[in-house]
């Protein structure tokens, strides 16, 4: 009789513990549902201003012969890291832009407003892709959200689909803003989010201005209102900064600093940018460490370079097809892309 009672108590205790765990799981599911799955739309009054309305053409001189460059920097690449080869330079005999004609090849696009050259490099066990971009007018340098809406949570879409919808010539994934509730989001001249994260989670912010320049800030000192008045056109909150004012960063307190697939936006001079995607987690390419990536971007000749979301998010598109080899099928919440102006 005592044994039966003891057994009953034991079963009751097990059932009780099991119930508590199940209920805890249910609560966590509900929290995850609201945190991750159900998108939270932001009201349109978050769009504080629009700098995209007036976009003067950028005046380019003769295309520099050595940009993007290689091996011209003062500090050599680490000996144990991959050795990099130069990225393509626009043919000096031709002008940077055409008078209106569109010249397309398998790896390039040239028109009155855009000049893009795509190249793939294989160095040891690392494959990386460089899209060298000149834009005469910053209206060609755009960003887009998945499903055309700003929403956190599961607002994602395949990069190819967004790229097709926007008539992008080239595209790269953005900072996957939807995965976070904080951080600055300025897109195409509109401020969508200006929520500062906790001090421990402060990140670097990259800003592209409507005069074709790019700067990198620390989130602690960043003033979105001030930068919007200065003409901030795009801003990403991810990072870290790889090259700042021509200096490759060497210290990365980041959990993802190991060899991984990478996406980077680089800046040479006003209107001259590059998108870089490094293949990783695959047999043909293991990816790059942040420190090697910073060296690569500096060796390409970038004055500023900023790390976008990598890993399975890292994807690069040219002519609505993958130009890089993504390591996973993860959809993206935003893209950075170059389009043309048709008059």
């Amino acid at each position: 009789m005592i044994n039966i009672c003891k057994n009953r108590k034991g079963i009751k205790a097990i059932v009780l513990i099991f119930t508590e765990i199940v209920l805890t799981g249910c609560l966590l599911c509900v929290i995850s549902l609201f945190h991750h799955v159900i998108p939270m739309n932001v009201t349109s009054d978050m769009s504080l201003n629009n700098n995209a309305t007036v976009m003067p053409n950028i005046i380019f001189g003769t295309p520099p012969a050595n940009t993007p460059s290689s091996g011209t920097s003062a500090t050599p690449a680490p000996s144990n890291g991959p050795q990099y080869t130069p990225t393509p330079t626009p043919n000096e005999e031709d002008s940077l832009f055409t008078s209106g004609k569109i010249i397309k090849t398998d790896s390039s696009y040239k028109s009155k407003y855009v000049n893009i050259t795509c190249k793939t490099y294989v160095v040891e066990n690392v494959t990386y892709h460089v899209q060298d971009i000149y834009v005469r007018n910053m209206s060609c340098f755009k960003t887009a959200f998945a499903n055309d809406k700003f929403a956190t949570g599961s607002n994602t879409e395949p990069i190819i689909e967004i790229s097709k919808a926007k008539n992008a010539i080239v595209a790269i994934n953005g900072d996957q803003y939807a995965a976070r509730k904080e951080g600055v989001v300025i897109r195409n001249g509109y401020l969508y989010r200006d929520i500062s994260p906790a001090p421990s989670e402060k990140q670097d912010i990259c800003v592209v201005y409507n005069d074709g320049t790019m700067k990198i800030f620390n989130e602690i000192t960043f003033d979105s209102a001030k930068e919007l008045s200065n003409g901030a056109y795009q801003a990403w909150s991810f990072g870290p900064a790889l090259v700042v004012d021509g200096v490759a960063q060497t210290q990365f307190e980041h959990g993802i600093s190991g060899r991984n697939p990478r996406s980077v936006i680089g800046y040479f001079s006003p209107g001259h940018f590059c998108f870089v995607a490094v293949d990783g987690r695959q047999d043909h390419s293991v990816g790059l460490k942040l420190v090697d990536l910073a060296t690569l971007m500096r060796d390409l000749g970038c004055v500023q370079a900023y790390n976008l979301d990598g890993g399975n998010t890292s994807k690069m598109v040219f002519n609505n097809e993958y130009y890089s080899s993504p390591s996973g099928a993860r959809e993206v919440s935003d893209i950075v892309y170059i389009c043309d102006i048709f008059e």
Binding site: L23, L27, V30, R180, K181, P197, A198
Partner: protein, 77 residues
Amino acid sequence: MKSKRANTIIKYLLKILPHVSIITSLAYVVLFIIDRVNPAMNFIGFAMTKVVILVLAICSTVTSALIIYLLEFKNRK
């Protein structure tokens, strides 16, 4: 009559609130660990997590108050 009803309410509260405390505590521990692993997701700063902490705080306070009441006043009678 009033005292009987109050006793019944206290009994029910003491039956339910500890379970709610355990569930919210476990949920918070899990969210805390996830947040340490992937700080970018910011589970701890999420509004619903703050509600979980609030519920935990209320449950703990009421449970503690009821236990103190029972131990210090009821049982002495």
